[in-house]
Symmetry: C6
Subunit: 274 residues, 6 copies
């Protein structure tokens, strides 16, 4: 189970804030949902900041955040808990969802749609008016503590057609769509996170936006804020900008020789000469 127990540094809030400046009303919607304990479904592309957004909201609301990454072998026991043998004795160990239910925490299920179906079904009674978690193995039912809130994320362009949230799951959620931040906000984020100057960050953001705007792009994904931060951090570690972009953006976006070459030419055209 993933407990983000990091205590944000003093400047934490203001550091995280810029990230949301460019976006719409996601903070208001999340806050309203949190007030009612309504579960939230976050939609948006890889690396646009969904995890950061949840971390920010948990921080602002003063709630503990428990994060779980979904995968296709995940079962409900991975969420709820299981008996383990310890010294010949079976001991129950809470899973991350159960811990969140008891603690009144925000439970963030990242890419939960990848998980096996019993995983999504187990959240049904938690995600409607019942706010209950059945613990079959213990023969009991937990009522969620005040403050408990479910958040799940989902990348619409990325999920296979065979892996979709069941409608009966989905309709229990309020949906918020996130996208990449605006140019100024993204520049501020990249500069801060990578530890580089604003001019370099602005170059990287310009490149990132150029790639996102490619017509008929053969790329499965576009250049994310995360990639631009990685490129910036390589610059901060001493690499020249062109090499950093090649490693953190171009080679990551494609394995196809021709696409790599075309992206390289785009980079050469967009990045400033030095």
């Amino acid at each position: 189970m993933l407990i983000a127990d990091r205590s944000p540094d003093a400047a934490g809030a203001s550091v995280l804030d810029p990230f949301y400046r460019a976006a719409g009303n996601e903070v208001e919607v999340f806050t309203a949902a949190a007030r009612r304990g309504t579960p939230v479904l976050l939609k948006g592309p890889t690396g646009c900041g969904k995890t950061r957004f949840v971390e920010t909201m948990a921080h602002r609301l003063g709630r503990e955040l428990i994060t779980v990454a979904g995968h296709e072998d995940m079962t409900s026991a991975d969420l709820v808990g299981r008996f383990l043998l310890k010294g010949g004795e079976t001991v129950w160990v809470d899973g991350p969802l159960t811990r969140a239910v008891r603690a009144g925490a925000i439970c963030y299920l990242d890419e939960i749609v990848e998980a096996r179906q019993d995983t999504t079904v187990v959240i049904h009674p938690l995600a409607d008016h019942r706010r209950e978690l059945p613990l079959d193995r213990l023969g009991t039912i937990l009522h969620a503590a005040p403050g408990f809130q479910l958040v799940i994320s989902y990348n619409p362009g990325y999920q296979s057609i065979l892996k979709n949230l069941k409608e009966s799951t989905r309709q229990r959620f309020v949906a918020i769509t996130l996208d990449f931040p605006g140019a100024d906000a993204e520049t501020e984020i990249v500069a801060h996170e990578a530890g580089i100057d604003t001019a370099t960050a602005r170059s990287l953001v310009g490149l990132g936006r150029a790639i996102r705007n490619l017509d008929g792009s053969p790329l499965g994904e576009v250049s994310s804020t995360r990639m631009l931060i990685l490129a910036g951090s390589l610059v901060a570690a001493g690499l020249d900008l062109r090499t950093a972009v090649q490693s953190a953006v171009v080679e990551v976006l494609s394995d196809d020789d021709e696409v790599v070459r075309a992206l390289g030419e785009l980079v050469d055209a967009v990045l400033p000469r030095r």
Copy 2:
């Protein structure tokens, strides 16, 4: 196992009653079936109130309600029970179905068609004149206590062609088809459940009905009563109506940019200006 042990508040019955006013004879049919202990199959779209209907009937009949959500990894042991190791000793723990059989409760198997086949077969002798539950592992057979009744739900438009109730299961049930309530009843429900005024509820219901009546709709599901309640609850938490509808209805109904935009235009046309 899910035991709805909530004690309904004094006004409970009258609160729940409106929900059924608009529909047909489902209360009479359910009552007749309950008198004979005949199992009931509920058909209807996601979020139309199947769970609420069963809760209401259990309340009116004065029976305990035990609910289980089906999923594709569910096996008969999840229903019937299993041996667990406790302190080196194996202890039998009743599953939810077995508890209902012993207690004479209503056992509501939600979307049971998703479960593995042994799950449906185990209910065969409970669902005909025998009213027996074999407990293989215990080497015994339970006779259902008076009052025990099976209820299963099923969404005809939603099930895949590969997942259908076996005919030999289905023919043991009496079927009741539910649909969304009429406009007045739905308005009353949305206002009550979300805690909003009747005018706002009426706007939401008008929008919901407009979406349900779309010709050649590309949506897999339509706007359910549940979604309208969620939208209303966001309004009650302080969001403006348009934003609440965007998050609770539009973004939930589709991930497709064009469909989202078209739905948005419909919302703008239907919702009252403020």
Copy 3:
């Protein structure tokens, strides 16, 4: 394991007898097979009375009846038995087939073709001249007690093309084909089982036969005797005939709106006005 330990009431035999009056020579064939201990394969549509027939024959022959419902997760251990941990000790628990072999009972494997293949293979040496049940885990072989007889059922129109009895299994059996009883016999059965008057039963049977005779029917199954009994029992519980038929027959036979409507029109034409 399912042991039909019900002691039939005094009128039991005569009550059950009508059921067979309309049919062919199935009683004679079953009796001859029982005399030789030859296994029997029952073929016939869902709800035509296969289970009742076996119950009757067991009653007439004075044999215990042990029934098992097949499903696609059933393994040979579910039939034969397994070791269970009890208090740190492993204890062997007979499965239903093993109990029948020891007791000289009739073992009725309902829809066994659904089960996993090892389930059918385990009955091979029981189903030929050897009449032996190997208990691998115990390292021993049981010889079937006198009176032991295997009966399996099978719905030819219903089985998928991928799920058929292996020829090497099938050829060990004598086959009996059952069908719905004649109109008079069925009327008598429906009246008795549902507890309604003969006139109402006759109306239901007339409707049932009309549905069975539909040309080019889009239905996967037809109206069974079981359905007619269920409809009758709803009438006995206070519903009017038309509503009872809608719930127990029409809505059960199809989920398709148009088919449901057409069936409703047929019902209106066939059922007597009141």
Copy 4:
């Protein structure tokens, strides 16, 4: 594990002998293979007497016979043995193959091609010059006792294209093709096994051969000697010949109404009037 521990009655050998009179040189080939310990592959249709042939050869050669029926869930542990928990202690229990290897018995693997692949691979070192059985779990290797011989059966027309013996398995065997016995031999067998007079047996055999000779037959299998014996035994139990044939032959051979009717007409034409 299946140990044919029946002690043949005095007349056993002569009773079984007729069965082989009509066939080719299978006794000589089997005897030569047995002399060298060479494994034998029996090919032939369902119910032609493969099992009986192996029983006869084991009897003549004075060897113990251990029979195992293959199925698609069978693993090598089912053949070789496994550890079982008994009273907190793990105890090794030999599987049937291991018992045969130790005892110098004939091990007859019936339809082994159905089993999982590790099952066939485990017999490789037993089926060539090594005559060894590795017992991985015990960390040891058994050398087969003198007299040990592998026999496997196989129905070429019946196996699916996906389930074939691996060539590397198959080439370790000497193959014997069996077919139905000649008319006189089959008559003698049917009369003896079913306990009926020769004239009736001859009628049954005549019918069986007529069905086998149908041009362009839609049947998956043909009428086997086993079926004719079953029909005869129903006659011995008191059924008339026509009814016995209907149950033991016609209804077993097909579920298709038209095919059943056509077969019935063939039966009427071939069987003598009484």
Copy 5:
């Protein structure tokens, strides 16, 4: 685990030698690879003598030989070892690969491509310059003893397109292609192994080569040296040559009636009249 602990008889080496006379430089290549501890991949058709070749090389090099037959249910634990419960205590039991690594033996993985992928991956660090075997469960790494060498076999014409050695596995090996021996060598081998005179052996080899040279053969495999030896051994056991060939060659090569007949005619044409 398979340990070829047979002590070759005095004449062993000379007996085995003829087998290799006809072939190319496989002895030199294997010897060079053994000198460097380089793993060897043996390619060749079923029954051409791959196992015998490895036995010979192990004998000549004075190394222990440990053989494992691959199958599709084989996992890395089958090779490496596992913990077993013994008297409440878990005891580690080395698998055959681990035993070979400790003993500096030749480990021959027969048809390893059939095994599950973790089985092939576990040999990667053993098959390059590292010569290490990680024992995850023991938390340790074994360095292979001097003399340890991996040999795997592979039948190129026989493997399905879905089951190929991973390139990253394959490129760690030196490949040797074996084929059937020349006519004189094969005659000598068949005569010696089957215990028949040279003239009969020559007839069998002539037949085998005729079958191998069939144009457009419908056979999946051709007549192998192993089959010819089996045919010869039936002759040594008293069968006439034509019958022995029918059982050990013709009936083994095909189940198709027409192919069997055509092969029979070829046999009649090629075998000498007696």
Copy 6:
């Protein structure tokens, strides 16, 4: 778990250095990434030296290297660790990834894309700003020690279309593309690793490069540096060059007779006559 605990010999660094001379800026990029703890994705064909490169970088950076080979049965427990029963007590045993996280080592996951998806998901929080490893079973979270770095490898031309790194995994990495070294560097490597003279190494490298440059090659892979070293080592063990190339290159590259013959002709044309 694979711990490369070999202490490099005195000349180690200089020996390994030549390998990288011909390539691009991979050392600089890796060093920058290591400085920031950024995970690295190595792309390149089989046998081009990815493993050696990581070994070199670990050596230069003075970090421990822990290597794990991915395979399709690998689960997250294989990386993270599991409870094992020891003497009735369950004891936690760290997996290789956990050991690397605790030790601040480089963890090299070779062909991790082959592993099951939970394996890749478990590295997500390690591969972004969190640098955390959740140990679900222990109910704790490890923060990676300084120096910990993830490296994964990937062969773009080799992966099936169904097995790709998830985008959400991939975008956490900086990518470095490796290729075969230049002719001089490769010659030096082959001579040194195989222990042969420079002239022979140069012949081998010339041949390898000729094969890599084949137009429209039917080969799945090309001749790798690893293959050339193997060929050279056979020469060092006494084989003539042509035979060594046949075994280590030609027969390894293809099983197709025609391709093998064509490659042989190419070899005859390229290799020097002796």
